[in-house]
């Protein structure tokens, strides 16, 4: 009896310790970049501009869309897939929101619902193509990227659709413009709140749900998962659905923030999102990683962009620095104790 309880207690303590270390590693790069940002921040009257609350919230707002996408991407990558279509789906949803609200004069609720449904279905279809026909996710979503982009252009007649607010025809309900606003005394941007809320939900979901157990198993060893009775195909399909859904949500946020849906919105966001996920320590081979890491990775990229911009580094040099920091952050990840 005593040995038994020993095992249990032991395992619990050990798990926590490991998880802490794991998170620590994940945070390490962020902290390094954060400290660097403080050191290199321009000052005005002794005030560190980087640390002004305005600026910090700007950082979070700026990463919120990539962050939302990256959360969905984490799920996909955890099962060993990849989703290159998210940027294009963001564009499609931004266009969809604008067209439905403005041209079709729908209310906010039905418009948002339709757009989310489109994203979800688009993702599910990609998941089916990948899981049921056994086509590599990379290629399915590469094709999905093109298709979503084409649909967005067709839906919007190839132009950006501006969103004007009001009660008249061809005007969107004012509630939608809240996405571009700030709350809590005009300080906290709504998109940042959405991102944070979603991140918390995703973390809880990954920690507590049976689906998450299945997801990690599929990513870790698909064959073993299948033989263990995990509904592998269903897991894969749902995961792409989640990614599509979150990309659509990001598109809605995008349209609300910018008061426009444009078919080229979100171009290249997929790579930023993947970078956030990988910097956050999730393995592209699947089975290992966390949403906490992804959020960390997204914030790291956001802080990096911000500090480079605050110092007005030449755009070309920024590219070099960003490239090097991404590699360095990924290398830091490798220092995690082998598991």
């Amino acid at each position: 009896m005593s040995t038994d309880s020993d095992v249990t207690v032991n395992s619990r303590r050990r798990t926590d310790w490991r998880e802490t270390l794991f998170s620590f590693q994940s945070f390490f790069g962020l902290i390094a970049v954060f400290v660097a940002a403080i050191v290199f921040s321009p000052r005005r009257n002794g005030e560190i501009l980087f640390l002004t609350s305005d600026n910090l919230f700007n950082v979070v707002r700026a990463v919120s869309e990539i962050g939302i996408i990256a959360i969905g991407m984490t799920f996909v990558i955890l099962v060993g897939g990849i989703d290159l279509s998210v940027g294009a789906v963001l564009g499609l949803s931004a266009v969809g929101s604008a067209v439905l609200l403005v041209h079709d004069d729908l209310g906010v609720f039905p418009a948002v619902l339709i757009v989310l449904a489109v994203g979800l279905v688009f993702g599910l279809l990609q998941g089916m193509a990948s899981a049921l026909f056994g086509i590599q996710a990379f290629i399915v979503t590469l094709a999905g990227l093109q298709i979503a982009r084409g649909l967005a252009r067709i839906w919007s007649d190839g132009q950006g659709v501006a969103i004007a607010y009001g009660d008249g025809p061809n005007e969107a309900p004012v509630t939608f413009s809240l996405l571009g606003e700030r709350t809590f005394g005009g300080v906290v941007p709504i998109p940042a709140l959405i991102f944070a809320g979603l991140a918390v939900l995703a973390v809880l979901f990954l920690r507590t749900s049976a689906f998450a157990r299945h997801l990690y198993a599929v990513g870790g060893n698909e064959k073993a998962a299948r033989l263990s009775g995990v509904p592998v195909n269903r897991v894969k399909i749902i995961v792409f659905g989640i990614s599509g859904l979150l990309a659509a949500l990001a598109g809605i946020v995008h349209a609300g923030q910018l008061n426009q849906g444009s078919p080229n919105d979100g171009a290249g966001y997929e790579l930023d999102a993947i970078a956030a996920v990988v910097i956050g320590g999730t393995a592209l081979t699947g089975g290992r990683g966390s949403v906490v890491g992804t959020v960390t990775g997204a914030l790291l990229l956001g802080v990096l962009n911000n500090i480079l911009a605050l110092n007005n580094i030449d755009a070309n040099v920024q590219l070099l620095i960003k490239g090097l920091v991404i590699v360095a952050a990924a290398a830091l990840q490798r220092l995690r104790p082998a598991s």
Binding site: D4, V7, T8, N10, S11, R12, R14, T15, R18, T208, S209, A210, R213, H214, Y216, A217, G220, N221, K223, A224, A225, R226, L227, S228, G229, V230, P231, G287, R288, S339
Partner: protein
């Protein structure tokens, strides 16, 4: 003769630590020319680690190695091969996409005059090597197409091709059946006569007595005893390995079998996309009763694995002829999930590839099949229930671990096997399908698994067990069904037969022809 032959290898004071685990400590080990030195020990005793050190695979160790008197320190496997040391690894480390010939000569391809790979030469040599170990395979077949046993033979051929002075065989026979094992022993005798030194690791005790001259037993990374292998009894070896007397190996009590649980009638599978090398059921009839353990015997490629996979819904997609009845009701599970729901569970033969997520914890691997049932109000998985189930499973199967959070890949082979076993028992099956459940499992763990099987059968669960170890089939099963070419050819009651009878039955007519 062997005892005073020169020492080819001398390892002294070898130590190796993996994190908190001392895999080897202060080990002295030597290999003489013209002798077969068996290395024994429980799963996780450190046998593979010690030999990986010798073969240059593990380079960060403490201690000294001397080859023919000269101290060496290898930087990698290539160094060791140059020094005349070859190893057959326990895990089948082959490249699935390359052909047999390309695998055999990987890293040292023969070249033509213009520097390209000399494929013809490679194939000729390969064919000669394969023939030496008694198997006819097309040297150009991709290794990924071969069955596990065939792959194991390829790794043996690969090691032979190195013409090494010292040949390390880490469980070379775990996927082989009797005929292939006999052929391998013939080769080993030949090598011994040529003056090679051979290290032989196996959990099949009967093999040790037949092939080895000397036996060294490792326990928890330390050497505990050395035997003259020819005089050693299985009981002595087992006691040295475990540290206490081991109780009778096989099943103690055969209870009364209950009513019929599984009935397979003239099962034929016509796969939609036939795959070469797969021997689909081509007319199989058998029954399993509640509380009964039925064995499946057969040679390499007899179709045992395919039958079990088919019953589990994990076989080839395609049309079925014949019937499968579970509790008198027609079943045809669409997949493993459906099979589990119907009470059919399956322990696959290759635990590393088909059984486990090696980098995930023991806990996650143990409960993955039942997590949906551990939800509170259908939403959140209860951590406490997960923990309790995993801990209970580990305790019941006596899995040796320091923590349930350990990645399952760091457990020894036998303990990994028990984890898969435990996972399936947690699903509370009616029918348990086992494919080589003791492959690579040490005698103590085997005894525990056999004990467990007894218990399971005692609870009224029906067991269908495929195995290549005849002793195991006879010791554990009530009846044995012999398969050949995807058909059942004989059925024997184990209480009435000896190993030789079973051997003859599996080999059938070809037995007269000799090795093949």
């Amino acid at each position: 003769m062997a005892n005073d032959a020169p020492k080819l290898v001398r390892m002294t004071g070898i130590g190796k630590r993996y994190g908190g685990v001392l895999a080897c400590q202060d080990v002295d080990f030597d290999i003489r020319a013209g002798e077969v030195h068996a290395l024994l020990g429980e799963n996780g005793a450190g046998k593979s680690t010690l030999m990986k050190i010798l073969s240059g695979d593990v380079t960060d160790y403490s201690g000294e190695i001397e080859i023919e008197g000269a101290p060496v320190r290898f930087g990698g496997p290539v160094d060791a091969q140059r020094a005349g040391i070859a190893m057959i690894h326990q895990e089948l480390d082959l490249v699935p996409g390359l052909s047999i010939a390309e695998n055999l000569y990987l890293g040292r391809e023969p070249r033509t005059r213009i520097g390209t790979v000399d494929g013809k030469q490679m194939r000729v040599w390969t064919q000669a090597l394969l023939r030496r170990i008694g198997i006819e395979l097309d040297p150009r077949r991709p290794v990924g197409e071969l069955r596990v046993g065939e792959q194991q033979l390829v790794t043996i051929a690969r090691a032979l091709s190195l013409d090494a002075k010292v040949l390390i065989m880490d469980e070379p026979t775990s996927a082989l059946s009797t005929a292939e094992v006999e052929q391998l022993f013939a080769v080993i005798d030949e090598l011994r006569r040529e003056g090679a030194g051979i290290v032989y690791i196996s959990h099949r005790m009967d093999e040790i007595g037949r092939v080895a001259d000397r036996a060294t037993v490792l326990r928890n990374g330390r050497i505990v005893e050395e035997f003259d292998a020819r005089q050693m009894t299985a009981e002595q070896a087992a006691e040295a390995m475990v540290g206490r007397p081991v109780r009778t190996l096989f099943r103690t009590s055969h209870g009364e079998a209950g009513e019929e649980l599984l009935r397979v009638e003239d099962l034929v599978v016509h796969p939609r996309r036939p795959r070469s090398g797969r021997n689909e059921p081509a007319g199989i009839s058998l029954t399993v009763r509640r509380g009964e353990i039925v064995g499946l015997a057969g040679l390499l490629g007899a179709g045992r694995t395919e039958l079990l996979e088919t019953l589990y819904g994990a076989g080839s997609a395609g049309r079925w002829d014949g019937r499968v009845l579970l509790d008198g009701v027609d079943v045809r599970p669409r997949g493993p999930r459906a099979a589990l729901a119907k009470g059919i569970a399956f322990v696959p033969e290759d635990r590393r590839i088909s059984g486990l997520v090696l980098e995930h914890s023991v806990l996650a691997n143990t409960v993955v099949s039942i997590v949906d049932k551990l939800r509170i109000a259908g939403v959140v998985v209860s951590r406490r229930a997960e923990q309790a189930n995993a801990a209970e499973s580990a305790k019941r199967l006596r899995v040796k671990l320091s923590s349930l959070a350990d990645p399952v890949g760091t457990l020894s082979g036998g303990n990994q096997q028990k984890v898969v076993f435990g996972r399936m028992l947690l699903t509370r099956p009616k029918l348990l399908l086992l494919d080589e459940p003791t492959r690579g499992v040490d005698i103590n763990a085997k005894a525990e698994i056999y004990q467990l099987l007894s218990e399971i059968a005692g609870q009224g669960i029906g067991v269908l067990l495929a195995s290549s170890e005849l002793a195991e089939l006879i010791g554990v099963c009530d009846r044995v069904v012999v398969l050949r070419g995807g058909r059942n050819v004989r059925e024997l009651r184990t209480s009435e037969i000896e190993e030789a009878d079973l051997l003859a039955a599996t080999m059938g007519e070809t037995a007269a022809g000799g090795a093949r």
